[in-house]
Assembly symmetry: C2
Homo-oligomer: 308 residues x 2
């Protein structure tokens, strides 16, 4: 009766127009777990780290109900490291360094104690590894969500297509949706991606919000207009964590409840970009989250008793 | 007790990835009037046309309650002509031809019969001409809205600033908001623009929707996700016409009612892009408009009784 999250737990070094960090904690599974932990616990993590990953971070996540039996530790090796630089528009970034380190040896194993998971979030990883996780499950979860990226479309499209076929919901950004489908229109792109297997498609548009597609239905969640986006790193993973966290909490995977979940994800993403790394996710209270959700209600709520 | 719309009535020739037109009817005041006429009549037009502007188009607009006493006709001259080409993303376009023609002699006069107007929409025009219209009014309208463009920021910023100071609401696109304010963040840009005079700022983001700012409040209206945007020409003017048309119909300029108005404007814009030029605006019924408004409700409406 819990949530499983697979992905990277890693270090990032980030440069934005507003500042620069040394190595800080990052990784898709780290962001997703911090975000989801505001809504559901326990969270069963699948990842791989080196001996350099700080015990303090693991302890802080443990205190939020995150479990690590599925996280392999290679004591004498280094954790995955990514370094990147954002420009003013924050929608694109240059990768400066990618050191795979332990990630090259990642052979994910689902522990027996994880087999009761009803919700599975596959963060961005090599598609064959995402599939390897699904194939180890004795019972199919209620909902399997995958994230991916353009890199896998460039170098491992066949593998990616096999994995996509197995999931219920795929999250991609607008550029990736276009690349994956060969369609420029996001409406057409989503239709084509649903033909590949997933019943639900979420297209993330960064500061322009996110679209949820299912059959002929579409829902749009805006991003909160912020004075500044300080650091967009992890916004997509945080969004994913809030989205599946809300679904796991409510155990309701109806389209109506996914609308609420996408607003929850957007609210969590609006926090994470306010500071570098995961810092804001570790600070915010449930009250902060509720206040932010109410801001979303004010942002999009309107009366419509109009006579045309 | 009516709406006055100033702007161009003109010809366009348009090329998009989906097709190409010869000279068709265009102009900011034409689009705005067609759009507003679905909500309020009469509409008192201020513009200038040549002898080449088709009587059939004037008759069609008359049938929609549009009046032309304020439209100067230079029989022996040509109407304003613009030709442009859109690329795949539809958010940018190349201007191929701009023939000012009659526009070079435009010296707008507000007829006595227009002096009762409570709502004034100043479509994109030379800022000094927009101001000249305001200065001829004996009573200040309940609401003055102006549209403008980057071109005037490049060549007539002083004039533009004088006009901006006199209006209640300014509509600009995201790039123009940044240029006008010198701020990258749209939230900060809107705050700075409000310091220039207008109490309300609308920032149009094309396919990414529109933001309405007033004091510390913000409202977001999405664009309807369409399978294809066939021709974006006039989308901003159509949006403006729907927005002010709803306000003029309801005679309510509260922030709450402006939220509804921005949805109405977005709905009208979602129609106009489905075909070349004004064609869709001339076809749609009140029922079509109501159905489209309900699609917007479905698109953004969500339940939020969440426990974080």
């Amino acid at each position: 009766m819990s949530l499983m999250i697979a992905g990277t737990m890693a270090f990032d070094a980030i440069e934005t127009p507003f500042g620069k960090t040394d190595k800080i904690i990052g990784g898709s599974a780290t962001y997703a777990a911090w975000s989801a932990s505001h809504f559901t616990q326990p969270i069963k993590q699948i990842s791989i780290i080196g001996g350099d990953f700080p015990q303090g971070e693991l302890d802080a996540l443990s205190a939020r109900g995150v479990q690590f039996e599925g996280v392999e530790v290679l004591k004498d090796e280094k954790s995955f490291f990514w370094s990147g630089k954002y420009h003013m528009d924050m929608n694109t970034r240059d990768t400066l360094i990618t050191d795979l380190n332990v990630l090259e040896k990642f052979d994910p194993k689902v522990p027996e104690s994880y087999q009761d998971c009803e919700f599975l979030m596959l963060g961005n990883l090599m598609p064959s590894l995402q599939r390897q996780i699904i194939e180890q499950l004795k019972n199919r979860p209620k909902l399997i969500i995958m994230d991916t990226m353009n890199f896998w479309m460039d170098i491992a499209m066949d593998e990616l297509m096999k994995t996509i076929k197995m999931v219920d919901l795929i999250m991609v950004n607008d550029g990736e949706a276009r690349q994956l489908s060969g369609e420029y229109s996001l409406v057409k792109a989503a239709q084509k991606i649903m033909e590949m297997g997933p019943k639900y498609v979420i297209i993330k548009k960064g500061e322009h919000g996110a679209l949820l597609f299912h059959e002929k239905q579409v829902f749009f969640a805006p991003a909160l207009p912020l004075e500044d986006v300080f650091d967009p790193t992890g916004a997509g993973d945080t969004f994913a964590g809030g989205f599946i966290g809300h679904l796991a909490q409510t155990k309701d995977i109806s389209f109506e409840n996914m609308k609420t979940a996408i607003i929850v994800g957007s609210a969590m993403a609006s926090f994470v970009v306010e500071k570098f790394g995961t810092e804001r996710l570790t600070e915010i209270t449930n009250e902060d989250v509720m206040n932010r959700l109410n801001q979303f209600v004010d942002l999009v709520n309107f009366d419509i008793d109009i006579v045309a």
